[in-house]
């Protein structure tokens, strides 16, 4: 009887916990890598004032190692600081040279939901607010520009 009890309840429960643990670990680790990629790209803009097509392609290629990121999921904006507030945010066009003191915003979001989210919701939830995507944001102020 005790063997049946362990096979029916305990082993599936332990398996489920392990399963969740593995997917949570995957989500957490990839999320950190993605934030690192967003930060290193923002850092390039911070010290050069420009995001080149090559740098963008490198970011996109690296992001796609972890999950699918398409162009719509990589949002670039520029703005200016007025009295310490970021204002006049508008889309950043690749290769535009920013001025020293300008703001640069990078936001990335995967086009499909994380595996951990699927495990938690039993698939992709119809209510999108319950779905977990890989996301990262970096906002910096340009420190140097090249002549």
């Amino acid at each position: 009887m005790s063997k049946i009890y362990s096979f029916i309840i305990i082993i599936p429960l332990i398996a489920m916990l392990l399963f969740k643990g593995v997917f949570f670990y995957e989500y957490d680790t990839k999320q950190r890598y993605i934030k690192d990629l967003a930060d290193s790209t923002a850092y390039v803009v911070k010290v050069t004032g420009v995001l080149s097509q090559n740098e963008y392609n490198r970011l996109k290629a690296n992001l796609n190692k972890y999950r699918t990121f398409n162009d719509a999921g990589i949002i670039l904006k520029k703005g200016v600081y007025i009295d310490g507030e970021i204002t006049a945010l508008q889309p950043y066009i690749m290769g535009t040279r920013l001025q020293k003191g300008d703001a640069f915003v990078l936001f990335v979001q995967s086009s499909n939901v994380a595996n951990y989210s699927k495990v938690e919701n039993g698939g992709v939830s119809p209510d999108d607010s319950k779905n977990l995507y890989f996301k990262a944001k970096a906002v910096c102020r340009v420190e140097y520009t090249w002549e």
């Binding site: 949570f24 970096a138 420190e143």
Partner: protein, 206 residues
């Protein structure tokens, strides 16, 4: 026995998730502070710095001069908190009470500093950059009750050993955020952060 194993596993997984959430949030804040201090240091008070900005170079050594260049207190603070919020989502009102801000402005005889936390304020003068570490640590001990044993680390080391960054004689914007509460999945922990940026001085080449 089986239930005990499951309970132990649940506790282990929940603790891992709890710490992962805490460390992610802590790292986000640490990076946000880096972006934010670099944004704040660019808020130069141009009218107050006219003399400093117009001096240019030392005629004897050719060195770029950075004396008498002041930061604008209110816009530098705004730039700091705005950039921090943009990166981390933490509002100024949630973190301002835990934040000490130091503005450091060199003059021809030494270094003027203003250290503030909320409405408290200390203004002072140091004869050389290596005296700033003691001034900031004194201010920390004035602004917080650091005698509590549970209190997080409350001493900053700037010139403590050769591998730490030293202050140079340029304007700085320094923040020290002490015992900021970060919520994990179910536990609440605190963390302390230090970040500073020096003005990136350059003169146009004509």
């Amino acid at each position: 026995m089986g239930i005990a194993v499951i309970l132990a596993l649940v506790i282990v997984f929940a603790s891992i998730a709890d710490y992962a959430l805490y460390s992610t949030r802590r790292n986000l804040i640490a990076r946000g502070i880096d972006y934010a201090v670099c944004a704040a240091i660019q808020e130069i008070d141009v009218p107050a710095s006219t003399e400093g900005l117009s001096e240019g170079f030392d005629p004897q050594t050719g060195k770029v001069l950075s004396d008498s260049i002041m930061l604008n207190e209110s816009t530098a603070d705004s730039a700091f908190f705005e950039t921090l919020e943009a990166n981390t989502g933490i509002k100024r009102s949630d973190i301002a009470m835990d934040t000490l801000i130091a503005h450091i402005c060199p003059s021809d005889t030494g270094i003027n500093y203003i250290i503030r936390k909320d409405s408290q304020r200390i203004e002072g003068f140091a004869t050389s950059p290596d005296k700033l570490e003691a001034a900031i640590n004194n201010a920390i001990n004035v602004f917080w009750d650091t005698s509590i044993p549970e209190s997080d680390r409350h001493t900053i080391f700037v010139t403590g050993n050769p591998s730490t960054n030293e202050f140079k004689k340029v304007p700085y914007f320094l923040v020290f955020i002490k015992d900021h509460q970060i919520n994990g999945l179910f536990r609440k922990r605190t963390a302390t952060f230090v970040g500073f940026a020096g003005a990136k001085m350059e003169r146009a080449e004509q």
